[in-house]
Symmetry: C2
């Protein structure tokens, strides 16, 4: 399939679930449409749709104009996967393009402007790479997480000491 | 493992490859470290590392202080997966948190500020959901892609007509 997301996933993992979420973003609602557009076996599709529904990423809803039949749509939890899809799409556009370039562009509905590259940015708007980012312990950190964070900041940032458990007022 | 990325992937797909990229971001370089930290079978790890290296996402490099032994590190192509990881991490923090909250926070190295949520934004900085985004044909679009884009904008945006092949000057 001529799609940067699919190509990115072809490189970085098997990912039917996110491809199903992507289909929802593209307006797909009916089982048969998912099946045809993804070229996925019906039993695998059934299992993935059930799992996504159990997880609260999808929900069943009556199909428009056919109130007795059910389709699938994203919940708010599912809709918030959109940044993941856009990040994958943009990476795929750059690093795994099709022979004739990207097949789809995304623009802001109200202005027609191309979406900017997504990703972490500094306060003045510059992209931050992973070496520009310090890890710190969150509330759920265990002792082994703390040790891991120390080791990571030392290895990647070259911290001679690792002042990472402090700065509680940092925002 | 107490990590929001791992939990997000537990929900949305099998994804050893991105977990390996994540390890690289955390400073892991040696085969044995990947193996131990990911809890992955050696033969599967070998096959994933080889594939990521073939794809140009990882490259082999001498280990620091042990110039005769090789480890793995991200290429520029691999480093640019960082936005994908951050998007997954933030989604996992919100929608699949651990019992005590996130275990790791990411802050800007130079300022100590928390990273903002990543994702597409409007010109004035508001997050854009998928209904705020119009699809348009890119240079690689085929006839079936064009039909798909039309159908999508109609289904999701409610376009009565689909003026999506135009606006070549839009930026």
């Amino acid at each position: 399939m001529n799609c940067s997301i699919a190509r990115a996933l072809d490189q970085v993992g098997e990912w039917w679930s996110l491809l199903i979420v992507r289909e929802c973003v593209l307006g797909t609602t009916r089982f048969d449409e998912f099946q045809e557009r993804l070229g996925i076996a019906r039993n695998i599709l059934t299992s993935r749709l059930n799992r996504l529904t159990e997880l609260g990423i999808l929900e069943k809803a009556p199909l428009e104009g056919q109130e007795k039949r059910q389709g699938y749509r994203l919940t708010p939890k599912g809709e918030e996967l959109f940044p993941v899809l856009v990040a994958l799409l943009q990476w795929g556009d750059k690093w795994a393009p099709g022979p004739h370039g990207g097949s789809v562009r995304y623009v802001e509905r109200d202005t027609g402007k191309e979406l900017e590259p997504v990703g972490p940015k500094s306060a003045d708007g510059c992209p931050l790479g992973f070496r520009d980012v310090r890890m710190m312990a969150g509330p759920g950190a265990t002792a082994s997480t703390l040790a891991r964070i120390d080791a990571r900041n030392q290895a990647v940032l070259g911290d001679s000491q690792a002042p990472i458990r402090q700065e509680p007022g940092a925002k």
